[in-house]
């Protein structure tokens, strides 16, 4: 297969061209009068670029070589290099994949016919977002990187505020914009300091910088803040839930599936610059990662808004990836090759997996919103009957994201677990093994969150009129979901192949390490897992056959569910989303925070009353908001300086003159 791919005309050129095609995909729509034509053209172009780009990326990945080009630009920041090494090409794969799937999905989800005013801009910025990310991973000049980065962030913002008539969307947009801009400020510092270290704005070669000077520490902090804010690592996650919840679903898929990974890419890339980084860096990443995972999934359990739940679980998954990266860094620092390899493999593979199942779920949520007309899980239920196919695909995503065999989520977490257990025999850092139970807890909570999501949306009986008459989604929407579901299954069943996909990226990330481990051994392990998965499926099939045989020979009839003895039971007495997670919330109270407003009931026959509970954004509400209010107050005080009294303005002038005079002499 590789040889066939390498037979292509220079894959790097192909990949970059594909990226550019994606970028221009939205432009025809601006000039075309007929609604929808532009959208269709965009979808076709994006699909084409994916068909070109993904094979090219694979070829580059397995070629294990780095293709470098010099872009001739008119800006005074040194030469602008583009380069595609295995790490870049690894990240290119999900970018092209999700972009294509999303633009296809948009045909059904955001038809131009119904959204005349917004469709054009949406399609345009969607293309820009995709291509900016694709170019980002190839950029090797700090300033160029920064420019592409900002373009990415801004286009994401414009996608996010597509429905800016609603207050919630505007709020989410502003929070996102402020968060991302603050991150960018950190990146300004980062690239300036890198330039100060290496003498030019070209990104330093791998392992060329020493981590000893204090500047390196500042660089590390800036990296963590700047890229962490984009990736949504705690405590920089504040923008993430509302942004993902309020964007159109295929945009959420793009943001969560790929854009967050760009933050991780930044961290990966920056860490490659340094040789033997201090243990502290890995430790910080690990702690931040595992706490993001734990808190993220804890928040997810409490959510009532379907897309917010998915967004919180993105925080969790980013946390898992960051943990893997941190562990790998600690492995590098302590010259513990297997730890480094397993951590990195787990992290990279989880990046790939998350870019399969998270888009699947977000696209699914789009389908659900179409059917039920709401994001509030407590108002849904029983959708599986109306839309069996979507329900099945969504189920695959939910199981996969819980990290349950035989799907892909398990594979990456398995590698991480194995890395932790491996520490037990390691000479140092034995305590890393304690991450395993924490990760297990994360897994358990994930099961709670996603059984909640899946059941309250698809199972039981409808809890509102909106959800009563769902309709199956069209092929344009089901096809991308099916593709992702298939990929989840494939990686789950053939994990050893997925590992081969990741290996080159690891090699480019830490050349000296990856030679020290024998990767084949881990491949074999994953082979056993795929064997067990097959056995599991066969067993299940056997049981099913047996049961059918039994049912065939017996009487089967159907009746309504027993109403638990209620005289007039309504669908409202079902366990809804909130009631399902209520127990978990009460047990994990403190990690999960909820604001519950209970009604005052009095008298023998209290009148109708309602009880409302919603999860709270702890960091945003208790940390960020107070800071802003304080700043507002103090600024308001200082603003009195502009009081309109001109003779006092005159005094300003002469006082300035006087002070400067004193200073001068």
């Amino acid at each position: 297969m590789h040889s066939a791919l390498q037979a292509l005309p220079d894959p790097a050129i192909l990949a970059i061209t594909a990226a550019l095609i994606t970028g221009f995909s939205g432009i025809p729509g601006i000039f075309l009068r007929r609604p929808g034509a532009g959208q269709i053209i965009a979808a076709i172009l994006t699909l084409l670029s994916a068909l070109v780009g993904i094979p090219a990326a694979l070829a580059l990945l397995f070629a294990k070589s780095t293709a470098t080009y010099i872009l001739n630009w008119g800006l005074p920041f040194g030469s602008c290099e583009l380069a595609i090494d295995p790490l870049s090409s690894f990240f290119l794969i999900p970018i092209f994949l999700v972009a294509a799937a999303g633009s296809l999905f948009a045909l059904g989800y955001w038809p131009a016919a119904e959204h005349r005013s917004t469709e054009c801009g949406l399609t345009f910025f969607y293309g820009i977002l995709a291509s900016s990310m694709a170019i980002l991973v190839t950029a090797r000049n700090g300033v160029f990187f920064l420019m592409v980065w900002e373009i990415m962030a801004l286009s994401a913002y414009f996608l996010l505020v597509t429905e800016h008539e609603s207050e919630g969307v505007r709020r989410a947009g502003i929070v996102y914009l402020i968060a991302t801009h603050t991150g960018s400020a950190a990146l300004y510092v980062l690239f300036s300091l890198l330039a100060a270290q290496s003498g030019s704005f070209l990104l330093p070669a791998a392992g060329s910088l020493s981590a000893l000077p204090p500047a390196a520490m500042v660089i590390a902090v800036a990296t963590f803040v700047g890229f962490g804010a984009k990736a949504g690592i705690m405590p920089f996650h504040i923008w993430l839930p509302s942004a993902h919840a309020n964007a159109p679903s295929h945009v959420s898929a793009m943001m969560s599936g790929v854009m967050l990974k760009m933050g991780l890419y930044g961290i990966f890339r920056t860490l490659t610059f340094f040789h033997d980084p201090p243990l502290l860096w890995g430790a910080v990443l690990t702690v931040a990662g595992i706490s993001s995972a734990l808190l993220g999934i804890a928040f997810a359990v409490a959510q009532r808004d379907m897309k917010r739940l998915l967004a919180c679980s993105s925080i969790e998954n980013i946390g898992i990836i960051t943990t893997g990266l941190g562990v790998a860094m600690m492995g590098v620092s302590s010259h513990n090759a297997p730890l480094a390899y397993l951590g990195m493999a787990g992290a990279l593979l989880h990046i790939l997996n998350h870019s399969f199942f998270k888009p699947l779920l977000f696209l699914g949520s789009g389908v659900i919103i179409h059917a039920a007309g709401t994001r509030e899980m407590n108002l849904m239920g029983g959708l599986a009957k109306g839309m069996p196919r979507a329900a099945l695909l969504f189920l695959v995503g939910s199981v996969a994201i819980c990290g349950i065999p035989p799907l892909n989520g398990f594979v990456s977490e398995f590698l991480l677990y194995f890395g932790f257990f491996y520490q037990l025999q390691a000479p140092s850092l034995v305590y890393l093994v304690l991450l395993a139970p924490l990760l297990a807890l994360v897994g358990g909570l994930a099961v709670v969150a996603f059984t909640k999501l899946y059941s309250s949306v698809f199972l039981g009986t409808p809890r509102s009129h909106g959800a009563a008459h769902p309709h199956e989604a069209g092929p344009a929407m089901l096809l991308p979901m099916g593709l992702f579901a298939l990929l989840c299954l494939l990686v789950g069943l053939l994990p050893q192949q997925a590992l081969r996909l990741v290996a080159p990226a690891i090699t480019s990330f830490m050349p000296q390490m990856s030679t020290a481990v024998n990767a084949a051994e881990y491949g074999a392990l994953l082979g056993r897992i795929s064997l067990m998965a097959l056995i599991l499926i066969m067993l299940a099939a056997a049981v099913t056959l047996f049961w059918w045989w039994r049912l065939g020979s017996a009487r089967v009839n159907s009746a309504p569910t027993w109403g638990c003895g209620y005289q007039r039971g309504t669908s409202r007495i079902q366990y809804g989303a909130t009631s399902f997670s209520e127990l978990a919330v009460s047990v994990f109270n403190g990690i999960i925070r909820q604001r519950i407003t209970r009604p005052k009931l009095s008298g023998l026959f209290p009148g109708p009353a309602d009880c409302d509970d919603r999860p709270t954004e702890t960091v945003l509400e208790n940390v960020i908001a107070p800071v802003f209010t304080f700043a507002g107050v103090s600024f308001a005080f200082l603003r009195r300086l502009q009081h309109g009294q001109m003779h006092v303005y005159m005094i300003y002038i002469f006082v300035t003159l006087f002070i400067l005079m004193l200073w001068a002499h």
Binding site: H643, Q645, H647, M650
Partner: protein, 213 residues
């Protein structure tokens, strides 16, 4: 000749105090006009005769002595105001401050690295003192007219210093500068008239609607 110039400069300083002390606008306008005339004469005393000197002097006399006072008078008439009532800072404190500033400026001028032949004349101290007076009036008076007067006195202070460097300042530039001052004050006069029409007063403490709250 220059000794006579010094006498004139003393006059200038006195006029400063007059303007600081009086509340009657018409009177202070006249005082400033006189100051302008004196400044007009001064170049004749310190520079050798030349035609462009004549040009300059005549121009100064016309602008500072005639045109600007007329303008301001018109404004005062149209606004029907006689005197500067309750300034931000009372007259006595202003006078005292003026005295202090004058003293300081003499002290300060002594320290400056002067040219030997300028050493023992009071051009520099007089100019600084006049500057300070202009600043005082600008910052303490309420009426727009008074502020214009303050600006004029400030300009006069600058002008006194300019006398020291006639050979460095070519005639063209000198003329340009003067022209600017004229036009500037002219525009100020117009603006003042508009203000008096808009607010039916020249009280600048009314002009505080543009601010941050």
């Amino acid at each position: 000749m220059i000794t006579i110039a010094d006498q004139f400069l003393v006059l200038v300083l006195l006029i400063n105090f007059v303007v600081l002390g009086t509340s009657r606008l018409i009177f202070s306008i006249r005082a400033v006009a006189v100051q302008g005339v004196i400044l007009g004469i001064l170049p004749a005393l310190i520079h050798p005769f030349s035609w462009h000197l004549v040009g300059i002097i005549s121009m100064i006399l016309i602008t500072k002595g005639v045109v600007i006072p007329l303008l301001l008078n018109r404004a005062v008439r149209s606004a029907e105001i006689k005197r500067e009532v309750e300034p931000f800072l009372g007259y006595v404190p202003t006078l005292l401050l003026g005295a202090v500033f004058t003293a300081l400026s003499f002290g300060f001028a002594g320290k400056l690295p002067m040219l030997a032949e300028h050493q023992n004349y009071m051009f520099v101290p007089a100019s600084i003192a006049t500057l300070m007076t202009g600043f005082l009036i600008l910052t303490t008076r309420r009426k727009a007219i008074s502020q214009v007067l303050g600006y004029l006195i400030l300009e006069n202070g600058i002008f006194i210093f300019g006398l020291l460097l006639a050979e460095a300042m070519p005639i063209m530039v000198e003329a340009g500068a003067l022209l600017d001052l004229l036009v500037g004050t002219f525009v100020m006069g117009i603006v003042i008239n508009h203000i008096s029409r808009e607010f039916s007063s020249l009280d600048t403490s009314r002009l505080t609607s543009l601010k941050e709250e």
